[in-house]
Amino acid sequence: MKILAIFFLFIQSQLLLAQTNIQGVVKGQSGETIPGVNIFLKGTYEGVSSEIDGSYKLETTLTGEYILVFQAMGYNSLEKEISLQGESLVLEVTLREAINEMTAVTISAGAMEASDEKKAVVLKPIDIVTVPSAMGDIIGAFQTLPGTANVGNDGRLFVRGGDASETAIFIDGMKVANAFGTTASNVPTRTRFNPNLFKGSFFSTGGYSAEYGQTLSSALALNTVDIPLRNQGDLSIMSVGGGFAQTLTSEKNSITASANYFDLSPYQGLIRQNFDWERAPFGWDAEIAAKQKWGKSGMIKAYVHTESSGMKIWTKQPDSEGRGQLVDINNKYTFAQSSFKQIGKNDWSYYGGFSYSNNIDDFKIAADEIRNQNKLFHGKMAAVKSFSDKFSIKTGLESYFIRYSEQLISQDLKREIVDNQYNLFTEADYYLSNKLVFRGGLRSGHSSLANQTWLDPRFSLAYKFENEGQVSLAAGTFNQMPLEELRIINPTLQNTKAEHLILNYFINKNGRTIRAEAFYKGYNNLITFEGQRFNYQKIEQTGEGFAQGFDIFYRDQKSIKNTDFWITYSFVDSKRQFARFTEMVQPSFAPRQNASVVVKHFVGKLKSQFGTSFSINDGYTYHNPNLPGQMNSKTRSFQDMSVSWSYLPKPNLIIHLACSNILGRENVFGYQFSEQANDNGIYEGRPIGMQAPRFLFLGIFITLSKDKTANQLNNL
């Protein structure tokens, strides 16, 4: 035993004698010195950190073969086998930069992202619901962003000279059909979905990823919230209706059920309307959203939304006296979806899901009873493989099943189309460094009804400068089947086509964001026809067109205390031959100049946020049959100034008051002309105006929760 102890001491002293110094400087690839590098001998406590100048000195009494590890944030770790023999070692090492999701360049061409989690975003989700002119409609807020046109008599999203059908909407990656409520012509509509459902959005005005298809101009991807923070009940009482939502959560899952009812009759009884309503719009909706965590990193979501709404309106006819024609609309709509994401082994990850949309419109116009039904089923499965932090490939398979029917109930006539579409997409991202990224994608599709197969290549790249600014370029081709109401008459119609070229500059620094973008979009195979809806004739696909221009966005949260504002200017030069036009014209939905300003100011003492938004354009084109040529006239400039006041007297109570068009400007969106000239040879026209000079909204939002500080904005 004694001998053993002596032996042990001897070894110890041997070890003490053999001291090795390891030193050097740690640098990055571009020669910069790296401070704070963790340098240690693997499997021991021996280690040091590098100094400000990147130098290090590690003294150790260990001998033998070891692995020396260099670890630094933002760099790939490096391991070096070394032999400690009591002699000094000099090791100069160079660490390779790691691609950092947060700081690396992102492709911002065409894209505007709203998210809390990512840093390079244009907006936060909360900014969207607090835009005064939006009146709580998510699309209303997007209409203040660059590249969009405010078409006040429609309400949908019009992007860069494209019509509303050229924007596709996705929820958690799954396509939503009929995302907007059914409405009568010239009565603006809204999205069916409550903005509180979403934690973020990705709005692209062109050049988007191969993951998105069947959309010519724009893709809007909305992402729903994950597990909400707490159990709570949300009561809303509004000037147009009310609703209640209850949320139950646990660590692993949550469920939210809500029901809402609206009826504009009382409101319209109080405030004079320009339109001749027989029955003001009314409706209800109910929805359930469930979330379940799956394993360590996976998530499954399910969402069902169902609603019913209606309205009756007298539409004046230009060439007749009296109230005109009574249009009675009833709509039933269901949207159901489920999506999942999961991280697998070996740097694979998976996501996918399915969605089902079913829309039934019942129209009663004069003696005719018409029923249109549109069903869409969308299934998607995608896998992403990261080969390294620099290179990844995404591949996915999608199928769409579309069934559309039109029924003339009064005459017992029905027609229907069914289309199956299959898509395969693949996309590779390659980061040359944190500063430069390339993306190439390919999307293929096949439609059974059109018996057409197509291929869309997409390409983009982005480069980040030293000052955080970045420039990106995107190009690609896009295919979209014509509207179902046209395909039902001519089922062999092929895809309409667009090609995009986009150059973007983006910088987000110190609370200020500048985004400038120039674009060119070409259109081909556009549909032209004669006649009216349900009775289109001479449908041809020889139309073409273009849209070109630029837009600028500036947002500032720093310069004025407690104030956030953004300014948008979009210039679009667009002409196309489409619909009933026999030559290229500027479409009514593509005003050349659009601008908007949104300002929000928070006053702590009053616990209030005051907001105002102003939108202006240079007028809508319209066709005046009394003048030569097509689309030969333009309305006066559209202008709207909206104001809002949000008051938080208590943490769980929000009172929101908003008013659109406070200046009472009489906006005109176009003119409707009689079919026949009168006795003097003049076609009589009536202006298409606004529903009412102003829209007033008052909402009281109460949150019931054990946590008294909870309010309905927490979900955003």
């Binding site: 401070p35 704070g36 963790n38 240690f40 693997k42 499997g43 021991t44 406590y45 280690g47 950190s49 400000i52 670890q71 944030m73 933002g74 950092n100 947060m102 700081t103 809390d116 840093k119 936060k124 909360i126 923070l229 707490r230 955080e468 609370g511 949260q557 956030d564 702590g604 616990k607 938080l648 208590k650 943490p651 946590d707 500080t709 909870a710 904005l713 927490n714 955003l716």
Partner: protein
């Protein structure tokens, strides 16, 4: 003979285990002291490196990751650099918290530290992050208190969030200050019963006293 051999073997093994444990304790104690003396953010980053080294030697221990995360969160508070650099520190801190939580689940101290990191993220840009992150921090502190009603750090930070809320809504500081007072009592108790060689978290008293000055 065989028996003796095996006894020696077992003895040797247990000695080496306790030796390893002592080495761990000693290393932790030393690094906690170094961290408490740390000056600028770069010192704290070095401390975090030291704790990360201890963590790689002791994969079953949550405390090295806990302190690495704490050092990085404090480095972010002290850093003079921009938002991007601070976010990098906090991303690293979050990784350590996730590792600590994987070793010791439902640990009040780890959940409170997680909330502390959220508070650090919020502090980088309160104007644009406040709305989203303050309820998240609040929730984490609430959970930490639920897990251990005697955790002075969790109670102090919950109190601080309450005070922020009260200031915003003008509801008066009574609730927040009550929590701060409660946390100070718990800090006293913690200090009394503390063994000088204790490596469990015991920081935060000075911070509570600092906050308390706003209550008078």
């Amino acid at each position: 003979m065989k028996k003796i051999n095996s006894i020696i073997a077992i003895l040797f093994l247990s000695i080496s285990i306790s030796f390893a444990n002592e080495e761990y304790q000693a290393a932790m104690l030393k690094e906690i002291q170094v961290m408490n003396q740390a000056g600028p953010a770069s010192d704290l980053q070095k401390s975090a490196n030291s704790f990360a080294r201890i963590a790689q030697m002791n994969p079953e221990e949550w405390l090295p990751h806990y302190y690495a995360g704490l050092a990085l969160a404090n480095a972010s508070f002290r850093s003079q650099e921009g938002a991007a650099e601070k976010d990098v520190l906090l991303e690293e801190a979050k990784k350590h918290v996730a590792k600590a939580a994987a070793i010791s689940s439902n640990n009040s101290e780890i959940v409170a530290l997680d909330g502390y990191i959220t508070m650090a993220e919020l502090a980088i840009d309160p104007a644009s992050r406040g709305q989203y992150l303050s309820p998240l921090a609040m929730q984490k502190f609430g959970k930490a208190v639920d897990l251990n009603r005697k955790n002075p750090r969790a109670i102090m930070m919950l109190g601080q969030m309450e005070l922020g809320m009260a200031e915003f809504f003008g509801t008066g500081p009574a609730k927040g200050c009550g929590l701060i007072t409660a946390s100070l009592e718990l800090f006293e108790k913690e200090a009394e019963s503390k063994n000088p060689n204790e490596i469990l978290p015991s920081w935060g008293k000075e911070m509570a006293e600092q906050i308390k000055t706003n209550c008078n």
